[in-house]
């Protein structure tokens, strides 16, 4: 019963886990596999999870670790290095956004996709999921200072690439 309660709680933010896995893996099926594995881990570790304050951050960390494991698995089968693996591939469809300015949308997407993986990960956690620096540090294992520096660099790159977007 205790396990079922924790699973119900985790299921409330399954979409967050899915989006994070999708961002890292760029593949819907793999992302769903990862979320399923996270649920199994939660079930197995429910006793320990009871003692954790931020269960969501813990689940995000597990999602991240399992996604990295999957990327490493691909590395051994496809011989594509983890460093070379881009979370958001060019083949991934552009989000459905109501805009007539397709050119500007293309620039934004291209710029976001060209960020280094660690910056892309931090931009995702901050700008899409709205986590604090402390939570991002907890999820990624970086220090808060590293999180701030990487976020600064990522946004500076965005600012530079979108310099024609004067306001």
């Amino acid at each position: 019963m205790q396990n079922e309660n924790i699973i119900s709680e985790v299921m409330k933010y399954k979409d967050k886990l899915y989006r994070f896995a999708l961002k890292m893996l760029g593949n819907e099926f793999d992302a769903e596999d990862v979320v399923q594995e996270v649920l199994v881990k939660v079930w197995q570790k429910s006793d320990q999870l009871e003692l954790i304050d931020n269960k969501q951050a813990w689940c995000m960390t597990v999602t991240r670790n399992l996604s990295i494991d999957k990327i490493r698995g691909r590395k051994s089968t496809n011989a594509s290095a983890i460093e070379d693996y881009h979370y958001l591939t060019d083949t991934k469809p552009t989000p459905d956004i109501q805009t007539e300015d397709k050119e500007s949308l293309s620039i934004v997407m291209k710029t976001l996709n060209s960020l280094p993986d660690n910056q892309k990960e931090i931009i995702h956690l901050r700008d899409i999921e709205g986590y604090t620096y402390k939570e991002i540090a907890e999820i990624t294992g970086y220090s808060e200072e590293q999180v701030k520096v990487n976020l600064f660099r990522a946004r500076q790159k965005l600012k530079h690439e979108l310099r024609n977007f004067t306001y």
């Binding site: 396990n3 699973i7 299921m11 399954k14 979409d15 899915y18 989006r19 999708l22 819907e28 992302a31 769903e32 979320v35 399923q36 649920l39 199994v40 939660v42 079930w43 197995q44 989000p95 459905d96 956004i97 109501q98 805009t99 300015d101 500007s104 949308l105 934004v108 997407m109 976001l112 995702h124 901050r126 700008d127 899409i128 999921e129 709205g130 604090t132 701030k148 976020l151 600064f152 946004r155 500076q156 965005l158 600012k159 979108l162 024609n164 977007f165 004067t166 306001y167």
Partner: protein, 169 residues
């Protein structure tokens, strides 16, 4: 909303100086539908963020208890198969070795070892008779030694007749 305020927030945003609350204000503004035209282009960035934050999975996840049961059953199946394979392998090895032993036994019937004639020991109690036996034995021995002596003498003769290199004759 005051456009100058939005501009100042954007400046702070790109310097990574905004708080979570200020970023929420920016997101709300750019997704509100009433944006100052000067922000039209930069608004796209925040629209992308919003679109990505709304992605949902359509997958129906199995209850972990079900998944775990499936995994346990899979493990059990593998274990059973392995056990059967081991038993089968053991039976094959036993049958093969039994077959080979039987075949070897039939093809290589060991011939009866000839009986070794063992000398008949005679217990001699009379000293004279014992002496006679001893003399006979020594005669046989002497005969053998004589032969050896001849061989040595012949060998020595050959050595004596062999010229030594560098020696004076």
């Amino acid at each position: 909303m005051n456009t100058e305020y939005i501009k100042s927030l954007l400046d702070k945003y790109f310097e990574a100086q905004t708080t979570i609350e200020e970023e929420k204000e920016l997101k709300n503004y750019f997704n509100s539908g009433s944006i100052d035209p000067r922000f039209d282009k930069v608004a796209i960035l925040f629209k992308v963020f919003k679109a990505e934050s709304e992605i949902e999975t359509q997958a129906k996840f199995e209850s972990p208890s079900v998944v775990r049961n499936i995994e346990v059953k899979k493990e059990a199946k593998v274990f059973t198969l392995q056990r059967y394979l081991k038993i089968a392998a053991a039976v094959i090895v036993l049958a093969l070795s039994s077959f080979l032993v039987v075949k070897y036994t039939l093809n290589n019937t060991v011939e009866e070892t000839p009986k070794i004639e063992v000398a008949n020991y005679i217990e001699v109690t009379d000293p004279d008779e014992a002496m006679a036996y001893t003399e006979d034995a020594l005669k046989i021995l002497a005969k053998v030694f004589n032969t050896s002596q001849t061989g040595v003498d012949a060998g020595m003769k050959v050595i004596d007749e062999t010229p030594v290199i560098g020696s004076r004759q």
